[in-house]
């Protein structure tokens, strides 16, 4: 703490700056969104050093940013945002992460807690059976390599064309579920082999599917536009990404960049995981084409899981989809790099915005958000841990001016997985949740301890900082009543 205390500049109650002269090589200062209390826990690990390291990236503009849920990652911190100029900046796979387009999707229903509570065990069991999850599990979708190429190119639309959902789901998905520029030729055989059996699977670790109940509404009009009408309404939140496919894409391209970053491009970096290349280089274009394939795979994955979720609700609740009103509210990526336009120092620039554990938060009126949300701003979905709550927020103009249209993405870990395992037992965690009215079903009871509330920061504090700093605006809160963990 003391070492950093002297070096950090307090801007206001929610903003802290790492000055550019903190270490030689930083091209811009660091900017951290945090309250004083949160900063204490942030300082206990090395994530601020990582914020400073990201500031080394050629072409980075304005700030190396850290959202309030920041914690230590590889190269980039988790909760890190960095924008580089497309003209002479770099792309860094570490700024996207291994799980490319890990993200969340939120569905609404017409159901209330009173209707679902009596059937929650049945519902969770059905969801657990219907949505493949867990380690070593194969998906239900059998595709050939050629078909996988189509998934990479079309994204969520591939799933719609195969009967998994409706085209109106696409309208409320970031990028309409398909990032341009995907090229399957840039994908290794290894990545394809990992991708084929895992399409349509939730995965393990921190991925989940949650049945939630709206517990508070802060902005009634905005909530209404999203289809959130009342406290007690049932929602479903799906959190997963591109599975082993995305990890392989990241590893493959990190390896390529590792070799050329210094030798060919003369870029010196303080951390190997920050390996990067100019956006306009051959290696940079190849990575972006491969990243788009993985992003599209992830959107397809969430689309398929959405379909099985709807199926499970229809079966257990004994109502039709239209009676259930199971429409998608939104789907956001929180590990991705996007080309976006910003005004920096009165200059209009196209920037490559790296969001590593951060959510896009575009304001009302932005051209890239669906018609439905033009007036209220893009929905921002911020899941907490399974014992607490999740938030729905919207993007703001301030985020456009200050954080490259980005805000926080979740609670952020406070305790390591091994420490959580040491202090808690999975079975106890399940019992404790059960006693609080949260039904949990998991493929691995022992790993449940790793995902316990105690292992995470309180998402309420995180969302509050983002709200007070003005980079997103709280709309509603929801609490879990049933959880599936891989």
């Amino acid at each position: 703490m003391s070492q950093w205390e002297k070096k950090l500049n307090k801007i206001d109650d929610y903003r802290w700056e790492i000055p550019k002269d903190y270490k030689p090589g930083m091209r811009v200062p660091g900017l951290i969104y945090a309250s004083e209390a949160m900063l204490k826990s942030i300082l206990e690990e090395q994530s601020l050093e990582q914020v400073a390291n990201v500031a080394f990236l050629p072409g980075i503009v304005q700030h190396s940013l850290a959202m309030p849920d920041i914690h230590s990652g590889y190269g980039f911190p988790i909760g890190g945002v960095a924008a580089t100029t497309v003209k002479d900046g770099v792309i860094s796979p570490g700024g996207v992460g291994y799980d490319i387009n890990c993200g969340v999707r939120l569905l609404r229903t017409n159901l209330t807690e009173e209707e679902v509570r009596p059937k929650i065990k049945e519902l969770i069991n059905e969801l657990f059976t219907n949505v493949p999850s867990g380690l070593g599990s194969e998906g239900k979708i059998r595709i050939t390599e050629r078909e996988l190429d189509k998934v990479m190119i079309k994204g969520a639309r591939w799933a719609i064309e195969h009967g998994f959902g409706f085209s109106e789901d696409l309208e409320v998905t970031e990028e309409e579920g398909c990032l341009d520029g995907a090229n399957p030729e840039k994908i290794s055989t290894k990545a394809k082999k990992r991708g084929i059996p895992q399409l349509g699977t939730l995965g393990s670790g921190n991925h989940f599917l949650e049945v939630q109940v709206v517990s508070e509404i802060y902005e009634r009009d905005i909530a209404k536009v999203m289809g959130i009408d009342q406290v007690g309404q049932v929602l479903v939140l799906i959190h997963t990404g591109s599975r082993g496919f995305g990890h392989q894409v990241c590893s493959d391209h990190l390896r390529i960049m590792e070799v050329v970053v210094q030798k060919k491009y003369g870029i010196s970096l303080p951390d190997r995981e920050l390996a990067c290349v100019p956006i306009n280089s051959e290696e940079g274009k190849d990575y972006l084409a491969a990243m788009a394939c993985a992003a599209n795979y992830a959107w397809t994955n969430r689309q398929c899981i959405t379909h099985w979720t709807r199926e499970s609700f229809v079966k257990i609740m004994g109502k039709s989809l239209s009676e259930l009103g199971m429409k998608q509210i939104y789907d956001v990526a929180h590990n991705i790099a996007k080309m976006e336009k910003y005004s920096v120092n009165d200059k209009d620039l196209t920037l490559c915005v790296h969001r590593k554990g951060a959510t896009r938060a575009f304001p009302a009126g932005h051209k890239d958000i669906p018609q439905r949300y033009k007036r209220v701003g893009q929905p921002v979905l911020i899941p907490g841990d399974m014992g607490r709550c999740s938030y729905i927020a919207t993007g703001t103009d301030k985020a456009m001016r200050e954080s490259f249209g980005s805000t926080c993405h979740g609670a952020g870990r406070a305790q390591s997985r091994t420490a959580a395992r040491r202090s808690l037992r999975g079975a106890e965690v399940a019992r404790e949740l059960e006693s609080r009215g949260i039904t949990v079903k998991t493929g691995s009871i022992s790993s449940l301890a790793e995902e316990a509330s105690q292992a995470y920061k309180d998402v309420t504090d995180v969302v509050e900082v983002a709200h007070q700093a003005g980079i997103s605006r709280k709309v509603a809160m929801a609490v879990p009543i049933g959880v599936i963990k891989g």
Partner: protein, 143 residues
């Protein structure tokens, strides 16, 4: 005997993920123990029987990259072919090339208790240290 010879590996803390420290009297043994540590994260190595053998040949531009590639290849085989390994015989190892025979079996869902899904070995905090008593390797995994 030094402690590096006696110890095989240990699991270490990292906020979002998990790491290992592997020991070895020589570099081959340290690489083999790192692989064993990897599978100890996924399941109980004592539950893995030697029912199949895979011969691997890995090349990379330097030693840290070779270590990452070696572990990533094993993760790949687990992810795609569902193979769990528990014994590794490293026949040759230079700074840029590794040849190994790996022994294990495919997952038996009713038998193996799977713990953590490991997705990738990373360069984060990666260390290969040589001291008087042998080698010590540190790797953080993305899970």
């Amino acid at each position: 005997m030094s402690e590096e010879v006696e110890r095989t590996f240990e699991i270490i803390n990292h906020t979002a993920d998990v790491g290992i420290i592997a020991y070895g009297a020589n570099i081959k043994q340290a690489f083999a123990n790192a692989a064993l540590a990897l599978f100890s994260l996924i399941t109980e190595p004592k539950d893995i029987e030697e029912r199949l053998q895979r011969d691997l040949e890995i090349t990379a531009e330097d030693e840290p990259a070779l270590l990452v590639e070696w572990l990533n290849e094993l993760i790949y085989l687990f992810d795609v072919e569902y193979i769990l390994f528990n014994r590794f015989e490293i026949d040759s190892l230079t700074k840029t090339q590794l040849k190994a025979r790996c022994y294990g079996e495919k997952i038996r869902p009713q038998w193996h208790k799977l713990k953590t899904g490991v997705k990738a070995a990373t360069y984060h905090m990666l260390k290969i240290d040589k001291n008087g008593g042998g080698y010590k390797i540190r790797v953080i995994f993305d899970i």
